[in-house]
């Protein structure tokens, strides 16, 4: 039975029809299979309706079933700034679903909703859901979706929309509807659909989730038609939700993996670039096993920072390497080349002419053309189109099969040298941190050291910002990566999303929060306070969009006009922003501004005590530019 038929039956059928004109009745019968008829449209078409038979309530709206689908997929949370186009689904979540799994997280902006989802996924390894209007909400969300797309982060976006013109209320609902809502983000989302039935919704939701979670992961968009949400499900309508079976990520072809192993075992100076190689703790252990098997240095990624094979100074290693193994490196060309940003840009290869380069990346399996997040084309000697983490077990096995006594001895010698280099690198970093130790504004090295002093004995997780080389990064959740497309305004909401993921594990979430970034969406801190999300945000407040200061300085120098005006349009002063007061106004513990380095440690400790009690806190630190 279609919805029109169900409503008709619920309204006592013949009695209701008896109130219609013949023409109206004919219209009802003439369009029994209209694609998206609505309760509201039906009411309009059949007016006047007797108050005695008018259907005013529904026991089971379509949105209840939509929520069943979301529960089936295991969403813990759903982020949203409220919107009428998804009001039925909103109500189903909080009443029918009891506001549990998913729990509604109130956000102050749709960009915040999506960035929270992105930050959550980087810790939890799976998406949370986001609801938004199909037009104004999606427009707000767009940059965060692009960040997630470029960062290969899974996000599950549900757009409220009303496709049937006869079902729309006059005025606002027209502004909040689109013929092809997902079109504006199709270039930077992985998949989208516009379901026209609940069965269609269920199937597409499961498909979207699967696509989102298959490497290379990415955001997906599902339009939830408002009429589909609000129209009751017929008692005899049989709905089912398809089984969700995650796709196992693709591992490298056996012959290609064997060829890579041969090159790596024969290499005298291999280097592993580990960028996005690892998603899980198991993957991190595999990366360690590969490095130890080869006694090869590892640069970047989630390799444990205090492992002797963890090396800084990637450029030196790249320049000395005879084999480079690049595991999910999004900008491989930019990693092995240097582009000098002067008037005439020059390019220098960082590698030896005969260095062999192996790439393992799921990027080779999926690309779009419009947005240029794929970076410059890298010339490699062996390209394995596969997920790096899924390929690691086979690569390790292939390397072990080729080990001989001679190679093992050579590897041991190499390992000892690398361990020495690692120790020296740590000592250099420690010495470097002393420069500007007592400076005001406070040095970023001092700030990192003061943070580490407070978190080092906790089960900590840095959900935004760079970790110091002096920190002991020994778990996959210890660090998170930044916004994939370098879109500013990511840090604050993503750190709240990461902290939300960490909360159930009792981890201590910490972020290094930039001042310019915070002003894009300070409401993220209200969300953290409202939902009791513990997060220690320590501000790197250089009172500027500092990257842009340097760009304008570069242009002014190039044009020989002096840099006296470089602060115009790039600094955040006059007045200085009191970030501690800003977050205090939203119920968050605020400390600062801290300008004396000797005041910093005590301020961080006070804030950490608040966080340990389950609340967010912010310490505003006035810092050196970098």
């Amino acid at each position: 039975m279609d919805r029109r038929g169900f409503l008709k039956g619920a309204a006592a059928g013949a009695a209701a029809l008896a109130t219609k004109t013949p023409a109206q009745a004919q219209e009802v019968h003439a369009r029994p299979a209209a694609p998206l008829p609505s309760g509201r449209a039906l009411a309009a078409e059949t007016a006047p309706v007797s108050a005695a038979v008018e259907v005013l309530t529904a026991d089971r709206p379509g949105s209840d079933f939509m929520l069943d689908v979301l529960k089936h997929l295991g969403f813990e949370y759903i982020c949203a700034n409220p919107g009428s186009s998804f009001r039925a689904l909103h109500e189903s979540i909080i009443n029918y679903g009891g506001n549990r799994s998913p729990e509604l997280i109130t956000c102050c902006h749709e960009e915040q909703s999506v960035a929270m989802a992105d930050g959550y996924a980087k810790i939890e390894g799976k998406p949370l859901a986001v609801m938004a209007h199909s037009t104004v909400g999606l427009q707000h969300a767009a940059m965060a979706i692009y960040n997630a797309y470029a960062g290969r982060g899974p996000v599950f976006l549900i757009l409220g929309n009303t496709i049937d013109v006869a079902a729309r209320r006059p005025g606002v609902e027209w502004y909040h509807s689109a013929q092809d809502a997902a079109a504006m983000v199709r270039d930077y989302s992985k998949w989208d659909d516009l379901p026209i039935s609940l069965t269609h919704f269920a199937e597409s939701a499961v498909r979207a989730y699967k696509i989102s979670m298959t490497p290379p992961m990415g955001p997906v968009v599902l339009v939830a038609d408002s009429d589909l949400q609000e129209t009751p499900v017929a008692p005899d309508q049989h709905l089912r939700i398809p089984k969700f079976t995650p796709a196992s990520p693709p591992a490298g072809d056996a012959a290609a993996v064997a060829a890579a192993a041969k090159m790596l075992v024969a290499a005298e100076n291999p280097v592993v670039l580990a960028d996005r190689a690892v998603r899980t703790e198991e993957g991190r252990k595999l990366l360690v096993e590969l490095a130890e098997t080869l006694q090869a240095p590892v640069v970047g990624g989630k390799f444990p920072s205090r492992h002797p094979l963890s090396q800084g100074g990637g450029r030196g290693l790249i320049g000395n390497a005879d084999v480079i193994l690049a595991l999910e490196v999004p900008d491989l060309w930019g990693t092995i080349n240097n582009v000098r940003d002067q008037l005439h840009r020059t390019t220098t290869s960082l590698t030896k002419p005969d260095a062999k380069i192996i790439s393992v990346s799921a990027e080779d399996l999926y690309l779009k053309s419009n947005y240029q997040d794929f970076q410059r084309y890298p010339e490699v000697d062996l390209a394995i189109a596969a997920d790096a983490e899924a390929t690691l077990p086979y690569l390790i096995e292939a390397c072990k099969r080729l080990l001989t006594g001679d190679r093992k001895r050579a590897f041991e010698d190499r390992g000892k040298k690398l361990a020495d280099a690692h120790r020296q690198g740590i000592e250099r970093a420690r010495t470097e941190a002393t420069y500007g130790w007592d400076s005001s504004p406070i040095s970023t090295a001092r700030m990192s050291a003061e943070i580490w002093e407070v978190i080092k004995d906790k089960d900590w997780s840095l959900v935004n910002g760079p970790a110091s080389r002096l920190w002991d990064i020994d778990k996959v959740y210890r660090t998170s990566t930044g916004g994939g497309a370098a879109g500013v305004g990511y840090g604050a909401p993503a750190s709240v999303g990461g902290a939300l993921a960490n909360r159930k594990y009792g981890r201590f979430s910490v972020s290094i929060q930039n001042d310019g970034d915070l002003m894009y969406g300070p409401g993220s801190f209200w969300t953290a306070a409202h939902h009791r999300i513990p997060l220690l945000a320590v501000m790197h407040n250089n009172r500027a969009y500092h990257q842009e200061v340097m760009h304008i300085q570069r242009m002014a120098n190039r044009h020989q006009r002096g840099i006296g005006n470089a602060g115009i349009g790039t600094t955040i002063t006059d007045p200085n922003i009191d970030y501690a007061a800003l977050v205090r106004a939203m119920g968050v513990h605020g400390e600062g501004p801290i300008t004396n380095p000797n005041d910093l440690g005590p301020a961080i400790r006070r804030a950490a005590e608040v966080v340990s009690k389950g609340e967010p806190a912010l310490v505003d630190v006035v810092t050196q530019p970098r």
Binding site: R340, T434, G436, S439, V549, G562, A566
Partner: protein, 108 residues
Amino acid sequence: MRLFLLAAIAFSLGAQTPAGDAKHGKQLFESYGCYQCHGHDAHGGAGARLAPNPIPFAAFSRYVRRPTGEMPPYTAKVVSERDLDDIYAFLGTIPAPPPVKSIPILNH
């Protein structure tokens, strides 16, 4: 022989070190935006650490005028020779940092 050459170069460069006004140089270090990349105390940041123990003046001056790396060029039209002298004098006043061992939280 190599050591002798290095010593001779260092002596020759050192001999060209001007006597600038360090106090004025500190002001210029701010107004010319040097701190944006090198930090307010020249301890480094996006750019290299410049002090303590700055490189010889001739090399310093040459790099400021015609940088071979990422630094934007500061020509004489923008920074006069005298201003450069003063900035260099300021770099010479930056004290050595405290030893690592004297900072407990760097030893954990």
